[in-house]
């Protein structure tokens, strides 16, 4: 059975989805979804151990040897990313039960969990596959499920957000298909590792260049890199809380992984960064994202929207690390990917608790929330400290490595810019603190209790993890270093 883990990881949620739809009883469908998520988490944990001890694993779908058949290739990079995805999913599922019931009514719930499982399965499929076209197929499973989940929000703007995401996401996916098609026409293969070999032989032709450009633009749309981020704030703001948390913590992270995979594994580094001035372009966009999105975040009234813009800014940090394209930079990126997933996931869960009690996250309605829901607010603010990068939080560790990497590369002004943009994060987190603790509770405010423990507990697991990994950095750091070694070593 162990040999089949790479397939099972993706297949379990895939089979869980129709079962979830067939059982129809709300709690059972929730149970099916939870069990599938936890099983995937266990498998991805075992896979990571296996990769650490034995190196990368190849699994041949249908028993056809690649490049004839489709191959799953698990190495450090995707084992780590899948661990993040399944881990976040596992924490969120217990939360989902109450939260979904409150925000969502009771009637469509089993379809909701079906969509969630499909979304989950799509993300894992994208991360696990070693075949370029298979990546597109699973990307679309994930995207379609995401459009559905976003469209389930209560506000009517959720519908337009989903539509906007659908159009932009499909354009992105089509760009990726064009890129893959050009690569295929030039090399005759779809397997990523076979592609890497053959691209090296072909060298820098105009077709490869164009394919590369289309792939990067398409993936950037999916990961919401600065000028292409327009779909993200709306989608995160109006989606149900549990969906916002799951998406914010995982979807863009997998897109980052895909970018890493194509930049470093499929195209070799020399081609990527020497022929095209991509490092400068990415670095410039990343810096703009860090500043512009953080500034916009400061002026948001809706806290979910504020966090969404903050996500765009955080993606800027991750991409900045990639643009340095040395081992230290990629380490910082992967580390930040992990830390940001935990922090943002935790913060969106905390906001979900507030929505559960108050029905709104507009900053004007949250005066004195620190006294009304002390635990939730404490979680939210602790997460905010992580976003700023205060020492002893996970956010500090990854920003530290990012600054070091920039200096190592000789781009020390970038390190300075990272610090400066963190000040902007101080401003928007301070706005939350000010409203939550400094303002009096409005007199006509209705009595609210603290969120129920089934919501609070998962929130605290993620927030607690963000502190824990700020102090004991071994696990993510080792994984990040290994990943970076593997990715940057491929092209040399």
């Amino acid at each position: 059975m162990v040999a089949h883990f790479p397939a099972l990881l993706v297949i379990i949620p895939l089979i869980g989805a129709p079962i979830c739809m067939l059982v129809r009883v709300r709690d059972w469908s929730w149970a099916v979804a939870t069990i599938c998520t936890w099983a995937s988490f266990a498998i991805s944990w075992l896979l990571l151990q296996q990769v650490i001890s034995d190196g990368s694993i190849s699994y041949q779908m249908g028993g056809w040897a690649p490049p004839i058949g489709i191959e799953y290739r698990i190495d450090m990079a995707n084992a780590f990313v899948m661990l993040i995805v399944t881990g976040i999913g596992s924490v969120i599922m217990p939360y989902a039960r109450e939260s979904v019931r409150a925000e969502y009514g009771v009637r469509r719930v089993y379809f909701f969990y079906t969509s969630y499982l499909l979304c989950f399965c799509g993300l894992l499929g994208v991360a696990a596959t070693g075949d370029a076209f298979n990546l597109f197929v699973f990307l679309e499973i994930n995207s379609l499920a995401t459009y559905v989940l976003v469209g389930m929000g209560k506000d009517r703007r959720a519908l337009t957000a989903a539509y906007q995401y659908l159009v932009l996401g499909t354009i992105g996916a089509t760009f990726i298909v064009i890129g893959i098609g050009l690569l295929y026409a030039e090399t005759g293969t779809l397997n990523m590792y076979d592609l890497a070999d053959r691209i090296e032989k072909v060298g820098a032709s105009r077709t490869i260049g164009a394919a590369f450009a289309f792939l990067v633009v398409g993936i950037s749309l999916k990961l919401a890199l600065f000028p292409l981020h327009l779909w993200l704030p709306n989608a995160y703001t109006y989606a149900p809380s549990m969906v916002s948390a799951f998406l914010a913590a995982t979807a863009t992270k997998v897109a980052v992984y895909v970018l890493l995979r194509f930049l470093f594994s499929v195209f070799n580094i020399e081609l990527t960064f020497d022929v095209l001035p991509l490092d400068y372009i990415l670095a410039a966009l990343a810096v703009i994202a860090m500043f512009a999105a953080s500034t916009v975040a400061i002026f948001q009234e809706n806290l979910k929207r504020m966090l969404a813009y903050s996500s765009v800014a955080q993606i800027g940090y991750i991409v900045l690390g990639i643009s340095l394209h040395n081992a230290a930079g990629v380490t910082a990126s992967v580390l930040h990917l992990f830390n940001h997933a935990i922090i943002k996931g935790g913060m969106f869960l905390a906001l979900g608790c507030i929505v559960y009690r108050l029905g709104t996250v507009n900053i004007h309605h949250l005066q004195g929330i620190g006294r009304r829901m002390p635990l939730t607010t404490a979680a939210l603010v602790t997460g905010g400290l992580g976003l700023i990068g205060v020492p002893l939080t996970a956010g500090f560790v990854s920003k530290w490595y990012l600054v070091i990497a920039a200096i190592e590369k000789g781009w020390w002004p970038l390190g300075l810019l990272v610090l400066l943009s963190s000040l902007l994060a101080v401003v928007y987190v301070w706005r939350i603190v000010e409203v939550a603790y400094m303002k009096p509770v409005p007199e006509n405010a209705e009595q609210v209790e603290e969120a129920p423990s089934s919501l609070l507990f998962p929130t605290f697991i993620l927030i607690g993890a963000s502190i824990y990994f700020g102090i004991d950095t071994d696990l993510p750091l080792d994984a990040a270093i290994e990943t970076a070694k593997q990715l940057t070593g491929n092209g040399e």
Binding site: G62, F111, C121, V137, L182, A213, F214
Partner: protein
């Protein structure tokens, strides 16, 4: 095909636009036949010209069939489109000429299917063999995509009130 597309850009009556879109699909299907892809042509004709059109017409019946705004050429999108098109044409310049036997597509991977598919799967239609066996996992993904779309449409448009009355969901 080019004329159809330009007409779609210009015409404001959405009914006509949808019908032209359907014609476009049929023309694409004809082109697939010319290019030896009979399976694809079959699918494109039934899906692009059939199902999609029926659905679009259904949507028109539920909404409206006039595009309100007068159409004027917009500069920014036009620039974006030209840039993308130029990049694509630039990309095709290094491709093997159309129909060439020596293109990498025809020397790597592809011929293996043609050479061994019938022997190993007993299916003479190589497209079916590759679809269901060699790349069967892709097809599983494809079925899942359709499944997702079905779930999504039920969730978005389903008649939930009537369903509760008929006791469809035990927990309702």
């Amino acid at each position: 095909m080019a004329i159809t597309v330009i007409a779609i850009v210009k015409i404001r009556n959405l009914f006509a636009v949808v019908m032209l879109g359907s014609i476009f699909s049929l023309l694409a299907a004809a082109m697939f036949v010319v290019l030896d892809a009979v399976d694809v042509a079959f699918t494109e004709a039934s899906v692009g010209a059939g199902i999609s059109t029926v659905l679009a017409l259904g949507t028109l019946a539920l909404t409206t069939d006039r595009e309100k705004k007068p159409i004027h050429t917009k500069l920014v999108p036009l620039c974006v489109v030209f840039l993308t098109g130029a990049a694509l044409i630039y990309g095709t310049l290094d491709l093997a000429p159309f129909g060439s036997k020596n293109a990498p597509v025809h020397t790597h991977v592809g011929p293996t299917y043609l050479a061994e598919a019938q022997e190993k799967t007993t299916v003479p239609n190589v497209v079916t063999a590759v679809l269901a066996s060699y790349r069967g996992y892709d097809t599983l993904g494809e079925v899942t995509v359709i499944f997702t779309a079905g779930i999504g449409v039920i969730l978005l448009l389903g008649n939930w009130r009537r369903e509760r009355d008929s006791g469809d969901d035990q927990n309702a």
